[in-house]
């Protein structure tokens, strides 16, 4: 359970990114499936080139932002529909990620001298149980990111991002270039996603080219599970709800894996589980309305 809470806290970073595009900007951004492994790939590349984890993380964040910028340009400059823009970037990134990594999977091994934030943590605070060190660190990180994002969404640009997703006509009438706002929003979102990728690479100690498959839906699942748990009205509560959503979603998958094998549930069924979860929650309001009409 502690492990899935750790995972939840970690993937909450990605969920916050998905929240920016899907909920604030109203831009269904599928870049995530490419920018998540990109963050991991960039981190692995940096580690193999002998850089410390902080550098790897910074470069991964920049890479994610650039990926988002690319999707944004496809949409705003080339007028390609939102979904297609994201898919195009995602597919381009598959090759680019392979280029960065040089092979389909890389391990980040201490024997090869690769340091991660988690090994540094362990070596600095010797004598504390590693599991709780990780937990505390991830909790601190996500709280820090939450506060930063809350503040960002209350700045002039942040407000413009939220308004753009709500009413583009208004935004234009108020002298804001909605294209520019979308570029900023999608970049920030994918920077977070790539950061999540870099952290996850360190967390599990290896990078695989296919680790991004289904990440958008996992992120979206976290966001909407959060919406079911809490119905926040202010950004402060909504970001908490996204983080809680990520944790609960990870716990649900852990439960499905641990106890599901009695009914023949296999790890590769997880994507089906996630897909069905999202479908059920999204369809729920429709069924509820239908039921009400019958009564």
């Amino acid at each position: 359970m502690v492990y899935s809470v750790q995972e939840g806290l970690l993937f909450a970073i990605l969920a916050l990114g998905v929240f920016i595009t899907f909920r604030c900007l109203n831009f269904p951004d599928l870049t995530v499936d490419g920018s998540f492994p990109m963050g991991a790939a960039v981190f692995a590349f940096m580690a193999h080139s002998g850089f410390g984890p902080v550098y790897g993380i910074i470069v991964a964040i920049i890479g994610g932002a650039l990926a988002g910028l690319f999707t944004g340009f496809l949409h705003t400059f080339s007028k390609i529909p939102a979904l297609l823009s994201g898919i195009l970037t995602m597919i381009c990134l598959y090759s680019i990620n392979l280029r960065i990594m040089g092979r389909p999977n890389i391990s980040l091994s201490e024997f090869l001298g690769h340091r991660t934030v988690f090994t540094i943590l362990r070596d600095t605070f010797t004598g504390y149980p590693e599991m709780y060190l990780r937990l505390t660190f991830l909790l601190g990180l996500i709280i820090f990111l939450k506060v930063m994002l809350d503040m960002f969404l209350h700045t002039e640009i942040g407000l413009a991002i939220r308004a753009t997703g709500d009413n583009e006509t208004l935004v234009e009438a108020q002298g804001i270039n909605p294209d520019r706002i979308k570029l900023i929003g999608i970049s920030v979102s994918n920077a977070l996603v790539a950061l999540c990728g870099a952290m996850f690479a360190q967390f599990q100690g290896f990078v695989d080219i296919n680790m991004g498959i289904g990440m958008v839906i996992a992120g979206l699942a976290s966001v909407i599970v959060g919406e079911v748990l809490l119905r926040g009205r202010t950004i402060f509560v909504i970001t908490i709800q996204v983080i809680l959503g990520a944790i609960v979603y990870r716990m649900a998958t852990a439960i499905a894996l641990n106890w599901g094998y009695h009914i023949g549930f296999k790890p590769f069924d997880l994507k089906l589980f996630t897909g069905l979860l999202v479908i059920i929650i999204l369809s729920f309001p429709v069924f509820k309305a239908k039921l009400r009409r019958v009564r």
Partner: protein, 267 residues
């Protein structure tokens, strides 16, 4: 102040569905004009406002605003010169944002936006004062989401947002059409007050011929993408609705007719 020259606007151009929404339209708006625009559905009234605001670019012709050719400028780059309120009460505000957040967005119109916090206490104070003047009890609801307000309240907020930041031109696109008569009257009066106090030049589309003659100093009547009548001064003061309709039929050899216009002119 504003000059439109030979504006042509087509929709679905070069297809069988081609429609010419504005035909060689030319007219000048003087500083301080408060122009009311009437016309049946499809006359081109809203298209005209969209050309002025930059939401549509004309196929031919030029738009000159305050001595500057703005024909090719996108809407967001003209925004600092103008405010706009729409018929749809959801269009003038962002409903998922709070009242004060909406105001804060309007507050920075025409200025660069950065990473400053969007709202501070002096700003809040100013918003509260503005809302108190309107007298709809909105000053206590700064932190409520705009989506929770009534249509009339939203329209009042949209009006205030449109006039924040010293615009030169106010564009009102049937902004009271979706409101009940009492609220519509209130919003219309508020519009007039704001136009007078802020010394704005205004273009107001309305389907109510009585309002069209009672408000402002000049009335345009449009039909099939053209301005058919342009009445101002003493002539306009004496004009009755019946005479206005007669003059329209004289020009166009048909009756000026939409259900809405007929209903409202029966009063």
């Amino acid at each position: 102040m504003l000059r439109l020259q030979n504006i042509n606007k087509y929709f679905a151009r070069n297809t069988p569905d081609e429609r010419r929404a504005l035909k060689n339209l030319t007219f000048t708006v003087e500083d301080g004009d408060f122009i009311t625009i009437v016309g049946s559905n499809g006359a081109g009234k809203t298209t005209l406002l969209n050309i002025v605001s930059g939401s549509y670019l004309p196929d031919t012709g030029r738009v000159i605003l305050a001595g500057k050719d703005v024909t090719q400028l996108p809407a967001y780059r003209r925004a600092k010169y103008m405010g706009r309120v729409f018929q749809n009460t959801f269009q003038g505000t962002a409903s998922s944002l709070t009242l004060e957040e909406n105001f804060a967005i309007a507050f920075r119109k025409g200025k660069p936006r950065g990473l400053r916090l969007a709202i501070n206490d002096p700003m809040r104070q100013k918003f509260r004062e503005k809302l108190t003047e309107v007298g709809l009890g909105l000053e206590e609801r700064l932190r409520d989401r705009v989506g929770l307000l009534s249509g009339g309240q939203r329209q009042a907020v949209a009006l205030l947002m449109a006039t924040i930041g010293d615009p030169k031109l106010l564009l009102l696109d049937e902004h009271t059409a979706n409101l009940d008569p009492k609220t519509a009257k209130k919003i219309l009066e508020l519009s007039e007050t704001l136009i007078r106090e802020e010394q704005l030049t205004a273009l107001m589309i309305t389907h109510d011929l009585e309002d069209a003659l009672n408000f402002g100093n000049r009335t345009l009547m449009m039909d099939e993408g053209e301005i058919v009548l342009d009445i101002s001064g003493e002539e306009r003061k004496r004009l009755t609705i019946a005479e206005l309709l007669d003059r329209f039929s004289e020009r166009r050899h048909k009756k000026f007719a939409t259900d809405r216009v007929l209903l409202s002119s029966d009063r």
